[in-house]
Structures are given as C-alpha cells and as structure tokens.
C-alpha cells in the first residue's frame, strides 16, 4: 500500500501548494475595505453619487485597551454616470479592495428614488457577496445622502450599524418598518408593483420614520407618521402597539387618554365592478394613561374611549387609503388577493390603472378594551376614613 498511497499524497500536496500560490480569492481582512453602509443618489446633472462608509481600522491601542475598539469611520464618495463606474472610482480611492460582504444598509437619495431605482437594484442583485437581506432606506431630500452617512449617530458610532441595530431591535414598528432587499424585490414583483421603503433624515439626530411608497421602482409618495403604521396593518394584516391619544368628555371635563392597541385585519371583497372591499379590523386595546390617577376608568369612560378609538382608527385607515388612491398606488397586496382568488374577475377590473382608484372600500373597526393599566388598579373604591 505504501508506494501507491504515498504518490497519491504527494500529488495532493503538490497540487495544494500550487493552488495556494495562485489563488486570487485569498484576501485578508486587512486587505479589504469593509463597506458597512452605502449611499446612492443622483445630482442635478443626472450622475450617480455613490458614497460608502468604511470603518477605519487602526490597531488597538497598546495601553488604551478598550479605547482601541472605538473605531472611526470614513465616508468616501464618487460621482459617475453609472453606479458601477462610480464604485470602481471609489475602489481607486482606497488602498484595498472593496468588500460588500458586510454591507448592512443601502441608503437611496430621495431624488434618485423619485427618478426610479430599478437600475440600481439590478447592480445590487447581481452581486453575489451582497446578502439579500441588506436593509434599504430612503434619505429625505433635505440632506444629502453623503451627509447622512457622515453624521455620527447617538449610541452607535457607525451610522450604518445604527440603522442595522435600529431595525434588529424591532422597535417603533408602528412608525416604520424594515425593508430588506429581497422584500422590496418581492413586493415590487407582486400584482400592483408597489413597495415601501423606510424614510430617514438627519437633523441633529438620525431619525428613521415614515415610509416611502414606490410603484414600478419609482417613489410616488410617502406614508407619514401613523399612516406608516396603518399601512403595515393593511399589508401584514397585523399590527402591534399602535399608540392613540384620544380626548373624551367625562365627569364634566375633557379627559385625555392614551391607548395602545394590537390590531388584526381581514379582507373580503364582493365581485362587482368597481370592486367592493370590506375591511374588518379587530383589536385589543390597553389603556396606558388616563389624565390623572384620580380619573377612574369606569364602564362608561371605557365605553366612550373605545368608541372614540374605533373612530380614530377608522379615520386613519380611510385617510391612508384615500392618500394612496390619490397617487394610484396600492402597496398592500389587496389587488394580489383578488388576483389569486379570481383571475378572470381581476382581469375585468383594470386594477393598476383604474381598478384601485375606483375601488369602494368600507372599513369596519372593532376594538375591545382589555386592560386598564398593568401595575396599578385605581378603580377600587375606598370605604371609611
């Protein structure tokens, strides 16, 4: 067995050594420029401005210890007629190769978003090292994307990582929602070709809220504040922790109450032309705050509260729908539902042109108050002294 195996192993060893010598994929971490955030925008001349955010790697301070971990970052940008050329230009500005494997978020300028992002998306889609769960973000026009990237954020020192953490923590979902690359692609490919991407801007602090609405790859409108939450409800048919503050008349004065609601939604439609869509929103509310301690949540108060709440929610849903109808974008898969249920009928609707605009939507909201505060129970009545 000796000689045969020995030769085989020699061959293996020699080829291994040969392979090591000429492998171009072997790039040490320090030979790569780690891109954690990327911004893409257009200038007035119609050229692409690509900015990348890279952490500056300095070897950890000998004495400093933990200080070494605090890294700085650098934002580089370049302008060119195509995205890829701009990226290539950026590579020329760095001593090492650009590495997209760690890219966490892509920020798109509002101007570019309004002109259409299809071209950019194709570049992103074809790059294999880029994960398909990078976060997408649209940066409002009041600041440049480059500037947005440059701004140091509170708490997390790399702005791109801040965005990542922001969404990983799944907070404030009722105001905005994370959209990953593959989610955008998926929604954009659905029947109504509409998708949403969260909006962000920088103003002393980095603020991520509201959603930009896209149709056919172009930004058509915005969902602001509560609308973003309602939009989430309409799309996912489920929304947790929507906050409402309502004012009611009680005990001779107006009372302000804050309510948090978890909502579910169901769709049904009648096959008429134009289509009639019925929305049934049900939910459970929780009283988080009532003017003062003294104000007891009596039956009547609660009753009135939830009536008011239902009204408010219904109004918001109506508003949101009307707004989207106004720009003729339907980002909530309603059309898709009809399409998958009855294709022949859907064909008659001419959905993307007039079908959605003309759809009659009646909204029914039903909220039950479930809790009146978690820790205290001020409803008890004191007897005696």
């Amino acid at each position: 067995m000796g000689t045969c195996k020995k030769t085989v192993f020699c061959v293996l060893l020699i080829s291994l050594i040969c392979l090591t010598g000429c492998n171009t994929d072997s790039k040490e971490i320090d030979e790569r420029t780690i891109i954690v955030g990327m911004g893409i925008d257009k200038n007035e001349e119609g050229q692409f401005i690509v900015s990348i955010q890279v952490p500056v790697i300095v070897s950890g301070g000998q004495q400093g210890g933990e200080e070494g971990l605090v890294s700085e970052f650098e934002t580089l940008s370049s302008t060119h007629n195509t995205v890829w050329e701009a990226i290539a230009n950026l590579e020329a500005q760095t001593p090492t190769i650009l590495f997209f494997g760690q890219l966490k978020s892509i920020m798109i300028g509002e101007r570019l978003a309004k002109e259409g992002i299809e071209q950019v998306m194709d570049v992103l889609d074809r790059r294999a090292p880029l994960s398909n769960d990078v976060l997408l973000l649209v940066v409002r026009e009041k600041g440049e994307v480059r500037e947005f990237l440059k701004n140091e954020t509170q708490l997390v020192n790399l702005p791109a990582l801040y965005i990542d953490r922001f969404f990983t923590a799944e907070q404030k979902l009722s105001r905005t929602d994370d959209v990953k690359l593959f989610e955008y692609r998926r929604d954009r490919n659905m029947i109504s070709n509409a998708a949403t991407i969260p909006l962000a801007f920088y103003d002393i602090n980095t603020v991520i809220e509201d959603m930009a609405v896209f149709k056919n790859g172009k930004m058509e409108g915005e969902l602001i504040g509560k609308e973003a939450g309602i939009s989430g409800l309409l799309k996912e048919r489920k929304m947790e922790n929507i906050n409402y503050t309502v004012t009611i008349e009680g005990e001779g004065r107006s009372l302000e109450a804050s309510i948090r609601a978890n909502m579910d939604l169901s769709y049904s439609f009648t096959e008429t032309n134009p289509v009639k869509i019925h929305l049934e929103a049900t939910g459970k509310g929780e009283l988080v705050h009532l003017e003062t301690h003294k104000d007891r949540a009596s039956e009547e108060t609660i009753d009135e509260l939830h009536k008011k709440l239902e009204e408010n929610i219904k109004k918001d849903i109506d508003n949101t729908i009307t707004k989207m109808k106004g720009i003729n974008v339907e980002p909530w898969l309603i059309g898709h539902r009809i399409w998958s249920k009855n294709y022949a009928y859907f064909e008659t609707l001419n959905w993307n042109e007039t079908g959605w605009k003309d759809a009659q939507i009646d909204v029914n909201v039903n909220v039950e108050m479930e809790q009146t505060g978690q820790r205290i129970l001020p409803e008890k009545i004191k007897l005696g002294r």
């Binding site: 045969c4 392979l19 971490i29 790569r32 954690v36 952490p55 494997g101 990582l161």
Partner: protein, 489 residues
C-alpha cells in the same frame, strides 16, 4: 482493493534456526552422548559469561550435567529441590526415563527436553537443563524472572480507581486481570513472537462477550507474526492494525488493570507483552477514544453525558478552529459578524504575516512547546510553559508578529485538545489540524469542506480488527450512541 498489506520476508542469515542448525540439527533430540551434548552448549553459548554449567557425579557413579543462565534462575530452589535430593536419594532408584526423576526431585514442574532448539529456548527463558548420563535430558522449570512488585500506574493519572498498575511480566498481568474478572470464561492464549527476542505475548478475552471473529482475527495475526523481534508494544500495534499508515491509532494502550478489565467486558481483547508495562487493547473505535473508565465513577449519570459531549465538542473545536479562522479571515469574511470582524481587522492591522502563515507559525510553536516540556522534569516543564506561553505569546503579540485573536484561537485549540484522554489520539488530530489549515489556506471554506470530506472518508475506511472505526455512528446504531452518552443500568 488497492491498498493491501504486503508480506515481508526476513533475511535468512539472521534466523535463529539457521544459527542453531549450524551447530547441530535444530529439530533433532539432544545427542545421547553427554560429552557431545556439553560441547554443543559450550559452542552455542560461547562468549557468554552468564552461561553457567555445573557437573557432579551421583552416588551411583552417574555423571550429571546442569546448565543455565545465572541471573534468571532461582539458585535456592536449584540447590534444595534438585541437587540435594539427587545427591541424597538417587542411589536406590534407577534413573533412565524423564518420569523417573519425579520421585526424586521436589520441584513443581519439569519436562523431557525434546529437541536441541527447544532446549536452547528453555535455557534462554531461564530454565535449567539437567542431563544425567544414560538418561533422558530434562528441563527444570525454575526460571525466576527479574521483575518488580506492583506499583501505582505512573502515566495514567487518576483520582478515583485502583492504585495498581501492570508490570513487565505478562503472566503476572494476566493474574492481575483474573482478580478483576473471576469468571472461567476469561480465556488466555499465549504466543511467542519474534525470532530473536522470543517475546511472550498473551491474548486475553472474555468468551461470549467478545466476538469470536475478533479473537480468530487476532489469533491469525499473531500466529503469522514474522518480524525477528518484538520489544515494545508499538511494533505489535502497527502489526495488528489493518491500516498502519493511517494517522489514527487503531489500538490503544493502558497501564491500568481496571481499564483493561472494563475493555474486556465491552467485548474487546487485551494483549500483554513481556517486558512492557502496558496492555494493548483492541479493537477500538472513534468513540472509545473519548472515554476513560474513570467516567464511570461519576454516580450522577448526567455528569458522564456532559463530560463526553464536552470531549466530542472539544475534539471538533480543537481540530477545526484554526482552519476555520483562516478560511473565514482570508476568504469568507462575510460570515463573521460585523462587530467581530472590525475587531479582528483591528488586531490584524499591523501584522505582516498572512493569516495562514500566522496559523502555521503558532501551531508549530505550540507543538514545539508541548514536545519540549513533555519529557522534562515537572519543575523545568513549568518554566518552559511560562517562557513559551507568556513570554513568547505576549511578546509576539506586542511585537506585532501575531495578532492576539490568533493567540486566543491557538490557546483555546490546545486546551480543548487536551481534554481527550488519549495522548496518542491527541497527536493524531494534531496532524489533521495542519492538513485542514493547509487546505483552508489554499481554497478557503471550499477547501476546508473538501478536506473534511476526505477526512470523513478516511475515518470511514478505517477498521480496528474488522470493527468499523466509526461504530456506532456508522454503521448507525442509535441505541449504542445513546448508550455511550448515558449508559443504561
């Protein structure tokens, strides 16, 4: 198959038989003429100061010739049980056949010497030849092997467990085992291996526990042993391993009788070799190498399960961690979480060496340290540990030769590996580690996975005495696997 063991031929000149035949026909009985016989022994043992002869005349006028190797016999017994009775009592009995001596000699065992060859063999074993004129030559079994008393096993430290270890005599070792397993099914077979060393080897197994095919296999292997010597167990191990060129050990050794006894109960065979204090245990599998008998002293069964799972994980970590590091850092950094990646990048920022060179350097340094401190007395060993671990490690990091992440990885690798009970096994996986790093350095994760694939294949190929090395994972016996982690009562 392609890989097969070749039979080796030993040189004719070195043969023991040839040497004896040069003096007298090896298989013929001793010459009837006493003087001729004396001459034969004188020639055979010329130039050997420890070869002793004694001649005397019996009262009846018969001449008697005794010869032996001086340090190996019991002189007292020779004096009181052989010479004295012969001189006192031989007058009234007619001595001619071997059996006639039975009524005179007071020793436990003797036998007629049949051939020239066996006679010399017996002398070399420390027995005595008694040749009286006109009588059958007889062999007196009065050998007193040079051996020490039972002591603590020194190489296998243990907390709980018996404090005796095997010694250099195979017969005594079999006796020790008999004390652990008092059952007639404990079978023993004896072999003489090696033309020159003529080493005694005993095969011990527990009938009905051990598969007959395994015993048969070992039996045939031992009977066909054809090297001229057998000094250490290593030679025997290599011989009975089916794949002697594999980097994985296919037999294991132990100095502790409880380990050997436990192995017998698991259906294994135990081999003892003269002049060697370790018992050879076979067949062993991948899983067997993760266990020690000491595990069974845990009386909480989950402790045993935990410790074995821990060892298994440590084995995997200890083997693959450096290679994984190299492939992740050099080829697939997208797999490292961003924060970690930034800190790795920071630690590597000023390092001139690429990650694979770094890994090789550190692994090599580690093995040098281990090898250097192994055979030194413990107080020097400690110094080496401090100098090597602290001074070289820290200094290398501070000098910017090695990144501190690499130091952590190598240190953890080393520590993880030492959780395995068998040193031989640790050494094997150490070599695997180099191979994995080499393939990871060549092709990143892809090369790493291919290397692991080949490693799997190699492990699957291995047999230990016809038992799959990966038993019970492959062939798959789920109950046996569970039993390994949590033995049933």
């Amino acid at each position: 198959m392609v890989f097969k063991k070749k039979q080796k031929k030993i040189s004719e000149v070195l043969s023991y038989d040839e040497y004896l035949s040069g003096i007298y026909d090896a298989n013929a009985p001793l010459p009837a003429d006493l003087d001729q016989a004396k001459q034969l022994f004188k020639t055979a043992f010329s130039n050997s100061f420890d070869f002793t002869e004694r001649e005397f005349t019996l009262p009846g006028g018969k001449e008697v010739y005794l010869c032996f190797i001086s340090a190996m016999i019991s002189e007292n017994k020779l004096e009181y049980s052989v010479i004295e009775p012969l001189l006192k009592n031989s007058g009234n009995i007619k001595l001619q056949r071997a059996a006639d001596f039975g009524s005179i000699l007071t020793i436990a065992e003797f036998e007629k010497a049949d051939s020239w060859k066996t006679t010399v063999r017996n002398l070399l074993d420390g027995n005595i030849l008694l040749y009286a004129e006109y009588c059958d030559p007889i062999i007196l079994y009065l050998a007193e092997p040079l051996e020490r008393s039972l002591t603590d096993p020194t190489t296998e430290n243990q907390v709980y467990g018996p404090k005796i270890g095997f010694i250099e005599n195979q017969h005594s070792n079999v006796g020790i085992l008999r004390q652990f397993i008092k059952d007639p099914r404990l079978k023993t077979k004896e072999y003489r291996l090696g033309e020159v060393s003529n080493t005694g080897v005993s095969l011990v197994y527990l009938e009905q526990y051990c598969e007959p095919s395994v015993v048969k296999h070992v039996d045939q292997l031992l009977n066909s042993y054809d090297k001229d010597h057998l000094i250490t167990a290593g030679e025997l191990n290599k011989y009975i391993s089916r794949h002697p060129n594999s980097i994985f050990p296919q037999v294991t050794m132990s100095e502790r009788p409880d380990v050997a006894a436990y192995s017998l109960l698991q259906g294994k065979v135990v081999l003892f070799i003269d002049n060697f204090t370790f018992s050879v245990i076979a067949p062993i599998t991948f899983m067997d190498m993760l266990e020690t008998t000491e595990d069974h002293t845990y009386f909480v069964p989950w402790n045993l399960a935990f410790i074995r799972i821990l060892r298994l994980i440590c084995l995997v970590i200890g083997t693959t961690l450096p290679a994984l590091y190299v492939s992740l850092v050099a080829y697939q950094p997208e797999m490292i979480p961003t924060e970690l990646m930034i800190s790795v990048a920071q630690s590597r920022a000023q390092i001139p060496l690429p990650a694979n060179a770094e890994a090789f350097l550190m692994m090599f340094a580690l093995d040098v340290l281990v090898e250097a401190s192994m055979r030194l007395p413990s107080f020097v060993g400690q110094t080496i540990g401090i100098v090597g671990g602290l001074v070289i490690g820290t200094a290398a990091v501070e000098a910017g030769l090695i990144s501190n992440i690499m130091v952590i990885i190598i240190a953890f690798t080393a520590v993880a590996m030492f959780t395995l009970p068998s040193w031989e096994y640790v050494s094997s996986w150490r070599i695997v580690r180099y191979g994995l790093v080499a393939s990871a350095a060549a092709l990143g994760l892809y090369g790493f996975v291919l290397a692991i694939g080949f490693l799997y294949m190699h492990l699957s190929k291995l047999d230990s005495l016809n038992k799959s090395y990966l038993y019970p994972i492959s062939p798959f016996y789920p109950r046996q696997i569970l039993n390994f982690f949590k033995p049933r009562k």
